[in-house]
């Protein structure tokens, strides 16, 4: 056994696109250690004592926001919650002005979710704090990608060589993009599945396969990650009717029977039960959905820890 060194020298986590496989591996290995912290009777370590973490969310979120908050608290950081509603954003303050004003109070990390793609990158160029992207438009959601990778690795003991299907509205999904970057870098094969209006051939440039026919690949995959049907877009012409979507792309009981015996079912939440995934599968023994949430905490602790330990952070 040798002492492994962390491969990490970044002050920000903006996306998985720019990370190398060893960097992703470092986050996953570090998350392993942080998972142990949550099993202690005192679920807290002093690594970020005296640091301030701001959750700046310009979009609704339950899981991600709570998860980041608890992760920061388990590292003994102080946390501030900032949301668009009830803030000066509604008075017309720009993103950068708002962030600089929050930072002027002495923050160390800004966790940002924003509807505009690239907002986390913009912020990282404008502030001194570490910036963690918690979802920017349809661009990336790196911590979700990482917790999916972690959960897959935990289940199979590896990522390399697995076949992973991601199903649904790929084009509008930051979860899908982060997953494709992460999975392909770690050596998995990714198949993106959805109606032609929701998954363009352009994704093949990212190293994924693209198909419109779920049934043609369902028996081959080790992991099936069902994306949420985004009802906010359902009225657009890109979306078929809900019934048609479920019939073509939903993980129904009938389809589940045609999967590999040990297929692992994932969903980033929130679920639309009975639409993209049937309840008895979501709550069944092959579902990793709640494990994903549990692992998300450890992964976010790891990310908060790593970015703040980088020199100059």
């Amino acid at each position: 056994m040798t002492e492994s060194k962390a491969v990490w020298n970044r002050k920000h986590l903006l996306g998985l696109e720019e990370l190398s496989a060893p960097e992703i591996g470092t986050i996953l290995d570090t998350a392993d250690s942080f998972k142990e912290v949550s099993t202690r009777s005192i679920k807290k370590v002093p690594a970020l004592r005296g640091r301030v973490v701001v959750n700046a969310f310009w979009e609704d979120s339950t899981r991600t926001r709570t998860s980041f908050q608890l992760a920061a608290q388990r590292l003994s950081a102080d946390t501030i919650d900032f949301s668009e509603k009830g803030s000066s954003v509604s008075k017309g303050e720009t993103l950068i002005d708002t962030a600089r004003n929050i930072e002027a109070m002495g923050t160390d990390v800004i966790v940002i979710r924003h509807p505009a793609a690239g907002s986390a990158h913009l912020l990282a160029r404008s502030v001194r704090s570490c910036v963690i992207n918690a979802g920017d438009g349809a661009h990336e959601h790196p911590t979700q990608g990482l917790l999916d990778l972690y959960t897959i690795r935990e289940r199979f003991g590896k990522i390399e060589g697995l076949k992973v299907a991601i199903v649904g509205d790929i084009a509008h999904s930051r979860v899908a993009r982060s997953n494709v970057w992460g999975l392909t870098k770690m050596g998995a094969q990714v198949i993106l599945v959805g109606p032609a209006t929701m998954v363009g051939k352009s994704f093949e440039a990212m190293g994924a396969k693209v198909t419109n026919d779920l049934d043609s690949i369902i028996g081959q995959v080790d992991v099936i990650n069902m994306l949420r049907v985004q009802f906010e877009r359902i009225k657009s012409s890109q979306f078929p009717s809900v019934r048609e979507f479920t019939r073509m792309y939903g993980l129904t009981w009938d389809r589940f029977q045609r999967c590999k015996k040990d297929v692992f079912v994932m969903h980033p939440g929130p679920m639309n039960r009975g639409i993209e995934i049937s309840s008895d599968i979501a709550d069944g023994p092959q579902s990793g959905i709640l494990t994903q949430v549990t692992n998300g905490l450890a992964v976010r602790m790891a990310v908060l820890y790593l970015v703040t330990q980088t020199q100059g952070a």
Binding site: M1, K5, A6, W8, H12, S33, S41, L75
Partner: protein, 193 residues
């Protein structure tokens, strides 16, 4: 860079350590032996083995990773990967032997004591180290059991303990600190946005 203690000297030092530890605790009663990652874990294993052969039949083994408790993270160059702490033991009211490879500034031990406080309240904690590097203590911490003493190590040198299980050989070396390729304070990549 030079070797200061060879495998024979290291072995007899570990034997002496075990001897003294055995004299301090009561055979047949519980004793927790906790090693600090990474070399302390190995040393703790060897001590526990010797103790078992001398009638200590209730030894609890654990491993402590102190990375998250350090106050000198920014000064130790390339960061070690944080690894899990494994203490699934009853600590309360039982004696504990804490084991590390080198005692120098005392900050690792301070971090270890902080970490242990989150797991329980041993009746007593004793510290065993293979090498006591004298003259650099930054905290009022001393070891109860010392295998080897080093008095004349320069400030810019490092004392490295190598053990068969980790490094293929038992020896203690004094080496010049070298900048690591994976990032130090002077690494320009550290300033990346």
């Amino acid at each position: 860079m030079h070797k200061v203690f060879d495998k024979r000297e290291v072995k007899s030092a570990i034997d002496r350590l075990a001897e003294r530890v055995a004299g301090e605790f009561v055979p047949g009663r519980p004793l927790n032996v906790i090693g600090i990652r990474t070399r302390g874990e190995t040393l703790a294993g060897r001590l526990a083995e010797t103790l078992s052969s001398r009638g200590f039949d209730q030894i609890g083994r654990g491993v402590l990773d102190i990375t998250l408790y350090r106050d000198d993270l920014s000064e130790i160059g390339p960061r070690p990967l944080v690894r899990p702490t494994q203490i699934n033991l009853e600590l309360d009211g039982r004696p504990m032997l804490l084991v590390d490879d080198v005692l120098f500034t005392g900050r690792s031990i301070r971090a270890a004591l902080d970490a242990l406080a989150d797991f329980g309240r041993p009746s007593v904690i004793r510290l065993a180290v293979l090498v006591d590097r004298r003259g650099g203590r930054e905290l009022p911490i001393q070891a109860d059991f010392v295998g080897l003493e080093l008095l004349d190590v320069q400030a810019d040198q490092r004392v490295n303990v190598h053990l068969v299980e980790n490094d293929g050989v038992d020896e203690v070396r004094v080496e010049n600190s070298v900048a690591s390729p994976t990032g130090t304070r002077n690494d320009p990549r550290a300033a990346q946005p």
